[in-house]
């Protein structure tokens, strides 16, 4: 999974994709996930980090992280290798 490395993420959760000119807002946990994706962490690793930090069970986190990543694909912020 390759996050588009050009995208700019500000601490306040503002995301800009220079390729498409689109902007997005992301909540703090979303920013964390994008940063981890940039560091090329796997979904599994991401889930483990989040479970250590947040008050939620693994089922919820797993479900929500994959939903979030699907949205990043929908917005072309991640290149979908499976589809390529």
């Amino acid at each position: 999974m390759n996050i588009n490395k050009n995208i700019a993420v500000s601490d306040s959760g503002f995301v800009f994709n220079p390729t498409t000119g689109e902007s997005y807002t992301v909540n703090p946990i979303g920013v964390e996930i994008i940063e981890m994706l940039k560091q090329e962490k796997s979904i599994n690793e991401i889930n483990q980090v989040l479970i250590g930090r947040y008050n939620a069970d693994i089922v919820t986190i797993d479900k929500d992280v994959s939903d979030f990543i699907n949205l990043l694909k929908l917005y072309s912020l991640i290149e979908n290798q499976n589809a390529a």
Binding site: S23, G30, D64
Partner: protein
């Protein structure tokens, strides 16, 4: 180490287009308590979903409404519209506040009697009154609002047989500048039908004309329409006095004042556009006072206000069953509240709020009910915080027409709880059980057994 409070990750595209019809309004300020009782406690004790009514709000609504009219007009009487919410506890709250009963079927009539309302304080409206119903109403000295000529002749025959004078009024329909005009109920003012009916009543020796009634529509946003209607009824009443030297006791303006809900397709929220009860009171009472009634002979003013007195006293509490992503990327949320118990979701964009605090992040979502039916949509689009499975939501302004029009379809109807003025919850209707339904079903003997 303490863990952070979890919130699911969210990414939202910033649209350069116009803000949506909800503008910048945030609908999601959490509703954590109702009359001091925690929503979470109500759900853990009574289940999810559950209807909750506030006795305090009902009482304060009637008192405000009475004050609005009584400070402007000498004689005012409210009659509780049973069909709006005929839970006994609700009706009795209204009766304790001095309201008579307004019913539109034999079943509702019997309910009013069961609640202990004196026959003479029951107003019987509607096109469907069987001979048995009329027999009962005439014997009990109730007030019958005649809807059509077939009913007039039925009353004439029954009253003659009983040798009792029936107390009657006619329902009048009329042009008040509102479209569509409700001309299917009662007798028309403009084409002379109303006078036709009045003449027949005045010439009958088994009927006494005690009043004139209209109900010009429901969820009315125009006080002026009521002013027009009040003038027209006053004109009829004065005409009857001149022609027959007979004074009617009352003018009944029906119900129909809008509540704080937002009609579907409406651009502005109901709270911002629905006129206040004072505006309706001003329109009606000044029309009556400025008409040709002698100041010492003003008739009693009856109001059958329904939704405006009870809508905001009702809440429906429920829970999130699941969050899903639709094929086009939109968020959808499934609640345990369906259109089967929230009939008014066909008319209104209900205000829905979470029952627990959230961050400022929100997401546009489609809210579905739990039914395996495509029609089961509670809100086509709503901005809500990031709800998780099991989180609670509160649907506002559901006190009118839901606890009477709900249907037993796919799921069983839930409990109704009323919080009294001291903040104590009472179950006022049990949740339905399978047994309740089996009690009224019968299986023919040849269908009792089968092998698969």
């Amino acid at each position: 180490m303490d863990k952070f409070r979890y919130e699911r990750p969210l990414i939202k595209k910033l649209e350069s287009s116009m803000p949506n019809k909800f503008g910048m309004r945030t609908e999601y300020a959490p509703k954590t308590h109702i009359d001091g009782v925690a929503v979470a406690d109500l759900i853990s004790k009574y289940g999810s979903p559950v209807f909750v009514l506030s006795e305090k709000t009902i009482r304060s609504n009637v008192r405000k409404a009475r004050k609005a009219f009584e400070t402007r007009y000498p004689k005012v009487q409210f009659a509780w519209s049973y069909k709006t919410n005929y839970m006994d506890a609700v009706c009795r709250t209204f009766h304790q506040e001095g309201s008579w009963a307004e019913v539109v079927s034999g079943f509702e009539y019997d309910k009013a009697i069961h609640n202990g309302v004196e026959g003479s304080k029951i107003i019987f409206n509607g096109p469907d009154k069987s001979d048995d119903d009329l027999h009962k109403a005439i014997s009990n000295n109730s007030i019958i609002h005649i809807d059509h000529f077939d009913e007039f002749y039925a009353i004439k025959e029954i009253a003659t047989n009983l040798n009792i004078t029936a107390k009657v009024a006619i329902r009048v329909n009329m042009d008040t500048g509102i479209y569509p005009m409700w001309d299917r109920f009662g007798f028309n003012f403009e084409n002379g039908q109303a006078w036709d009916a009045l003449n027949k009543i005045m010439r009958s020796d088994v009927m006494e004309l005690v009043g004139l009634h209209t109900h010009i529509g429901t969820f009315m946003l125009s006080p002026n329409a009521y002013s027009v209607a009040a003038y027209k009824l006053a004109e009829l009443a004065i005409g009857v006095r001149e022609k027959y030297n007979h004074e009617v006791n009352y003018i009944d303006m029906g119900g129909g004042f809008a509540s704080n809900n937002t009609l579907k397709g409406g651009y502005l929220p109901g709270v911002d556009i629905s006129p206040s009860i004072n505006e309706f009171a001003e329109a009606i009472t000044s029309a009556l006072i400025n008409s040709n009634f002698r100041p010492d002979k003003l008739p009693l003013l009856i109001l059958e206000t329904g939704r405006a007195l009870v809508d905001d006293a009702g809440f429906l509490l429920g829970s999130v069953l699941s969050n899903k992503r639709l094929s086009d990327g939109r968020r959808s949320t499934i609640l345990d509240i369906g259109v089967n118990i929230l009939f008014t979701s066909f008319w209104y964009d209900h205000k829905i709020t979470p029952a627990q605090p959230f961050t400022q992040y929100t997401e546009e979502t489609v809210l579905y009910g739990p039914l395996c039916m495509n029609i089961d949509v509670i809100r086509e689009q709503i901005s809500l915080p990031l709800l998780n499975k099991g989180d609670h939501v509160v649907i506002h302004n559901v006190g009118a027409y839901n606890m009477t029009q709900w249907m037993q379809f796919i799921t069983l109807r839930p409990k109704i709880v009323m919080i009294d003025i001291d903040g104590k919850p009472h179950v006022i209707r049990e949740g339905e059980s399978l047994q309740n339904l089996l009690d009224v079903e019968k299986v023919p003997e040849h269908l009792e057994k089968f092998e698969l």
